[in-house]
Symmetry: C2
Subunit: 333 residues, 2 copies
DNA sequence: TTGAATATCTGAAACGTTTCAGATAACCTA
DNA sequence: TAGGTTATCTGAAACGTTTCAGATATTCAA
């Protein structure tokens, strides 16, 4: 690979001059400019970003750590973040944790070693996080996305999960449903608790009892949700509706319905949290509480960059979900 | 941020010794090790990867450039690649091109500037690529994934697109379909041509005529596929089956069917290229030609790393798709 | 014509590492 | 005890940039 020195040699000028021309950091004579540009083109010189960044003390890369890039929710988030980064002149370094706590600190560590400008961290569903190690590694510019840690005072961008649960349950109640199964996420996650809490709040608000036994653990793989749904739908008093609290659980729920020969929404209504843009065209069209994914990504990047040059105290922004009513829920007569 | 010097100072030893201890590059006395480890822990020292990489002349990062990370096909590919990279000790730098030719060279350039160990490049659907510039930038270790450039002799990992088309069409023909609409991708893409060619080959193999007018351009956004499908399904002699040649077009096709009030598979069978794991549980369960995504990702990384230390001439590996028969196609009596 | 002001260019130090030749100390062996 | 090994440790040179103080050449006003 060619270096500044090679270019300087070929152009017959000093290294410093080449640098000046390339970065436009000072006035140079037209002759100089031409000579250097010529040499750069001839040699196909590409500046060595590592050397440059080392010297300059900054790296135009933002790190993104998330649980599973193959999950549409996260890949859409990644997409939004990539766009925001790109237009701010940053590149993206991506790591998957597969919900593995050990990988979280390993990747975070690696990113700090790379001296990235900031890290956007989406904690995984692991029951235990090494919050102490994470806390130290998140000391540089960082924002938590999607899930926060109570013990860490950090910038974060979250969905209003309580509201998401509330929207789903409220919609069903308004349509006359009373016995509503809730296929929740892993109970140790705040996000699961919040969504269920939202459902509970909606029932309360309508003066209805909330039957805790209708809340089942759907885990965060469709498999468990599938079995949980089967279980709850085989109760003597079958729920007339089910709330699937994440896209993984929705897949399990729908599959369980299909296998039990129950039609949706004729036999059972389904309200989901997380929209499925890629299931458009399939039946039933899903009534879903959609997350403002683009806004979340943008906001995360914005806060991260703002954080880099301010010492304001960390803030949490909570964004509102919105309900999209389609065909998977029906009015109960 | 702490540096080796800080650690050396605190431990009361030389910089060289600290480096030796940290990297285990030579034998040191237990006393030395203890002192250094102590200082490292006390200061929370994290090595500066830029400096290290600059000095070492290698970077443990692999670049991935793809058209759209929000498309499940690419996000699953990204996931497979991330896993393969990670287990080989590499991190992933991700760039989206949004099918924009200018971004392709910009991002590729940036990755070369970062001196990444190699680049996995998935060309986008732009009608014109700056193949000259790309060619120069792809001179380092690189592998093309998903789509190749005829004009560039490079390692590549591809799906057997002809076979994919053949599988879909053959399946329909075997089920008695004769009038088959094909919602193709943009005609300027080799990949589209190949898939259609596969369909054509299947018809020929069965001694059937291939009606070119039933091939419509579905572009690479659902929108166009939607309109194309409506058009083809409103012919006086309606096709009894449709082949959707990519996941984007499948969405358009299914939507068109739904809006025209046509049931699938009762009225029209649909065979898709690209599987939809996230539509599991929705109806109809899609008969699809699935790509061996994991294998493609693994193979891409493997070839890339192999390429780094060999001068063998570039090779193309073509992986076979497989047909998954579910409920969206039916036997025609 | 001269001195000052300006325009243009360059040498060399730094950024934080790795690495290797050499320094020092400690241990053997004869 | 001298000489040679061996075991540890360190100084300093690189890696490819940026940047700034200084060098050189040019221009201008008086």
């Amino acid at each position: 690979m060619k270096t500044l020195k090679d270019v300087a040699l070929r152009a017959g000028v000093s290294i410093a001059s080449v640098s000046t021309v390339i970065n436009n950091t000072a006035a140079v004579s037209p002759a100089m400019r031409k000579k250097v540009e010529r040499a750069v083109a001839d040699l196909g010189y590409i500046p060595h970003a590592l050397a440059r960044n080392l010297k300059m003390g900054r790296v135009n890369v933002i790190g993104l750590i998330l649980p599973d890039i193959a999950n549409p929710h996260f890949s859409e988030l990644a997409s939004a973040i990539e766009v925001a980064c790109d237009s701010a002149g940053f590149s993206l370094m991506l790591c998957n944790t597969s919900d593995n706590a050990e990988k979280e600190v390993r990747h975070l560590r690696m990113m700090r070693a790379q001296r990235v400008a900031g890290v956007i961290f989406v904690p995984g569903g692991s029951p235990t996080h090494d919050t102490e190690a994470l806390g130290r590694l998140l000391e540089g510019p960082a924002v938590l996305l999607d899930r926060a840690f109570a013990s860490l005072a950090l910038d974060c961008v979250l969905l209003d999960n309580v509201e998401a649960g509330r929207l789903a349950a409220d919609h069903l109640v308004q349509n006359g449903h009373r016995r509503i199964g809730i296929v929740a996420g892993p109970p140790h996650l705040q996000i699961s608790q919040d969504r269920v809490a939202g459902c509970r709040a909606a029932m309360r608000a309508h003066g209805l009892p909330f039957e805790e036994s209708l809340v089942v653990d759907g885990g965060f793989r469709p498999e468990l949700a599938y079995h949980a749904t089967r279980a709850v739908l085989r109760r003597r008093a079958r729920p007339t509706a089910v709330i699937a609290t994440s896209n993984h659980t929705t897949v399990g729920v729908m599959k369980a319905l299909a296998e039990l020969g129950l039609r949706c929404p004729a036999d059972v209504s389904v309200a989901a949290i997380d929209d499925f843009t890629w299931a458009e065209g399939f039946a039933p069209r899903l009534t879903a509480v959609a997350q403002p994914i683009e806004a979340m990504g943008q906001e995360a990047v914005r806060r991260l960059l703002a954080r880099s040059d301010s010492r304001a105290s960390p803030q949490c922004v909570v964004l509102p979900p919105r309900l999209i009513i389609r065909d998977s829920t029906r009015v109960l007569e």
